[in-house]
């Protein structure tokens, strides 16, 4: 049986196809979010990768910012539960997750069976989110994917505030004009994100086993800053960006099994 999970975020779309709730047949990420052709492109790519037709999908769950506007979905789950489920599938020992997406940041507390127990989310401001990093990468004129390696060269990370993206942007411009190196500014930016999100995550208590999910988890600079801020190693799975879609596909499998179970009674 095939199930589909689709995570339509604010800046990217992710699609995952599972066989029998266990085997990952396809996982695709397209850097275009809700309201664009991103979701459709991610679906096309996932079906090509899996080598199956759309009609073969037994159940589809949508998650993410665009979950309510996803026509193929049979049900919607919040990205909170989907990331919890997806990370538990990828890294079963993890009890705390930090998920930094395009426009929000979340800290999730899991039970040992992977159920969501409690969560915290950022406030309305974009500071501490993927969008914040995108804005800063643009100011530094560095591709977003290179921010992490760049910050590894820092010797004196700059101090960048984390209250407001617009204020932080003007701080970065000031630092650049004062001759501070791009590496030190990049490291300062990562520290800024880590401090903001760590403050929120620690409201759930000090983590014993921590992982990051979402696209920002691919930024090595943020991950090491986060580990430093929280005082706990941070695990990152190579499929961290698809964790929400994996969770959605797992929920889809559970839903279908329940459906089949009840129709057999």
């Amino acid at each position: 049986m095939y199930t589909l999970g689709i995570d339509i975020g604010s800046t990217s779309s992710k699609a995952v196809i599972l066989r029998d709730g266990r085997e990952l047949l396809a996982h695709q990420v397209v850097p275009l979010g809700t309201g664009t052709i991103g979701p459709e492109q991610a679906l096309d790519a996932a079906f090509r990768e899996a080598g199956i037709a759309r009609e073969e999908i037994a159940f589809t769950v949508a998650t993410g910012y665009g979950r309510m506007n996803c026509a193929p979905a049979d049900a919607q789950f919040s990205e909170l539960s989907c990331h919890a489920k997806g990370i538990h599938y990828l890294l079963p020992g993890v009890r705390t997750i930090i998920d930094i997406g395009g426009q929000d940041a979340k800290a999730l507390q899991l039970s040992d069976t992977g159920q969501l127990l409690a969560f915290q989310m950022n406030d309305k401001c974009a500071a501490g989110t993927g969008r914040f990093l995108e804005v800063m990468a643009k100011v530094l004129n560095v591709p977003i994917g290179e921010l992490g390696p760049l910050s590894a060269q820092a010797d004196r990370p700059a101090a960048i505030s984390n209250t407001c993206t617009v204020f932080a942007e003007s701080e970065v411009i000031s630092q650049l004009s004062a001759g501070v190196s791009a590496a030190n500014i990049a490291a300062g930016i990562h520290n800024s994100v880590a401090k903001r999100v760590a403050g929120m995550a620690l409201r759930l208590g000090h983590p014993t086993s921590l992982a990051m999910s979402g696209g920002v988890a691919l930024n090595t600079g943020v991950v090491s800053a986060m580990a430093r801020e929280i005082g706990c190693p941070v695990q990152v799975h190579p499929l961290c960006q698809s964790a929400g879609a994996i969770g959605a596909a797992l929920f889809a499998w559970e839903k279908q099994m329940k459906k089949e179970g009840s129709s057999n009674e």
């Binding site: 769950v61 026509a71 990205e79 539960s81 989310m121 929920f251």
Partner: protein, 435 residues
């Protein structure tokens, strides 16, 4: 775990097949509230026309004083909440933060009212959506038990309009009880305030009249608390947010017999629903939650729609019950007003009140409104979340919003948080039913 069946796929078919749902007739008690509110503003207008002095008052002020003296008093906090709920706040916010030069960080009730006042005072040309029914005051009544920013807001009003403020300093409560010295301190101020108010308005204090007003007021407080407590029935007889509609009776008209009639009617309607096993809540009550903080008036309908989608009824609120204040004489009044508001209480008092409400009402979760307008409330909220969730063993979520400034809210963020809360509540429910 919870899910939402696909609304995108289902909606067009339903729209084509289902006839328009007939609108439920308004409850009689709600019609009575409408009449009472109209009368409040109309009586103030008529008093002003007769040349009598009309006041504005902070929401948690001993209303019985003005009632005993036969003074007409209006309530800026209630009035501005109404403006915000009707989505009419924008020009007032712009005026206050723009030409008037106030900070964006101020309480939005204050911002709306200061701008509205500027219009009444001929200093601004913003169009008044209600035609100026909040007539220009001749005096102000103020306590600081609910909020310390009120003192600055009212000081500014007093300077702007050149009118007096009659003020009772109620003290912060570091203890779980009120000491007699505090009671004497507040009582002495009440006595002085009554003398000053009589001298200013030309009215005369009548002890017999006061006793009568107090009897009415106490009956109303009892009935209001009783109505709030009837929400412990499952399913609750009404949608919890509906109780907010009745707050004007308790805030503005607590010492009036018209409020007794409304409260008796409300109790009777709720009892009838309980008897018949019905509810005005427009969906099956799947979850019962408590609400912490002031209502997010500009987005109340979005809050309601989202909660209804998951069958969440808000059956307990720290907000509405603040006006179920019990006292029967001036000493009792002094004691009660030292303890009448969340923002004036210490953390342990606040926690025990919330814990009691949460357990009595069988709440399965709590929603915290992180209200940008009320920094004092936000200050305690994070710790209350942590401790209350641990004590009661129920999950919570919080969202950013504002009591009157529509710019401080995101619909998508609210929806995600509520869905997340539902998923945790559902899982807890299933675990409980599986033993």
């Amino acid at each position: 775990m919870s899910d939402t069946l696909n609304p995108t796929a289902a909606a067009p078919a339903q729209a084509a097949a289902a006839p328009a749902k007939p609108k439920r007739p308004k409850a009689k008690s709600l019609l009575m509230i409408g009449e009472q509110t109209n009368a409040l503003f109309e009586n103030a207008r008529l008093a002003k026309e007769r040349g009598e002095k009309v006041g504005w008052s902070a929401s948690i002020f001993p209303q019985e004083i003005a009632e005993t003296l036969g003074l007409n008093v209006l309530y800026p906090e209630n009035h501005t909440a109404g403006i915000a709920a009707r989505h009419q706040a924008d020009p007032f916010l712009q005026e206050c933060e723009g030409p008037m030069g106030y900070s964006n960080d101020l309480c939005a009730y204050a911002k709306l009212n200061l701008a509205y006042t500027a219009v009444l005072n001929g200093e601004s040309s913003v169009e008044l959506p209600d035609g100026g029914k909040m007539v220009k005051p001749d005096f102000l009544l103020l306590t600081n038990n609910i909020c310390n920013q009120l003192t600055k807001w009212y000081e500014n009003l007093a300077r702007q309009l050149d009118i007096p403020v009659f003020f009772i300093d109620t003290c912060y409560n570091p203890m779980d009880y009120v000491t007699e010295t505090r009671v004497r301190y507040v009582r002495a101020q009440i006595d002085q305030l009554i003398r000053d108010l009589c001298a200013f308005t030309g009215k005369t204090w009548d002890d017999e009249r006061f006793k009568k007003v107090m009897e009415i007021s106490q009956r109303n407080s009892y009935l209001w608390e009783r109505a709030n407590n009837l929400m412990d029935h499952k399913p609750a007889p009404i949608g919890g947010f509906e109780l907010f509609n009745y707050m004007s009776a308790m805030v503005c008209n607590r010492g009036k017999e018209s409020t007794t009639a409304i409260m008796e009617q409300l109790n009777a309607e709720m009892e009838q629903h309980i008897k018949e096993g019905t509810s005005t809540f427009p969906a099956k009550e799947e979850y019962r939650v408590s609400w912490d903080g002031i209502a997010c008036w500009p987005y109340l309908s979005h809050n309601l729609r989202t909660l209804k989608q998951y069958g969440i009824n808000m059956v307990a609120s720290s907000y509405g019950k603040a006006w179920a204040i019990q006292y029967d004489d001036l000493d009792g009044m002094a004691r009660a007003y030292c303890f009448a508001s969340t923002n004036g209480d210490n953390a342990s008092t606040m926690l025990s009140r919330r814990y009691e409400a949460l357990t009595r009402m069988g709440c399965e979760g709590t929603i915290y409104h992180v209200n940008r307008s009320c920094k004092v409330m936000d200050c305690q909220m994070m710790e209350v979340q942590r401790q209350l969730s641990k004590m009661a063993g129920v999950p919570f979520t919080s969202f950013d919003g504002d009591q009157a400034d529509y710019r401080n809210y995101s619909e998508a963020q609210f929806e995600t948080r509520i869905q997340g809360l539902v998923e945790v509540m559902k899982q807890n429910k299933e675990a409980k039913s599986n033993g």
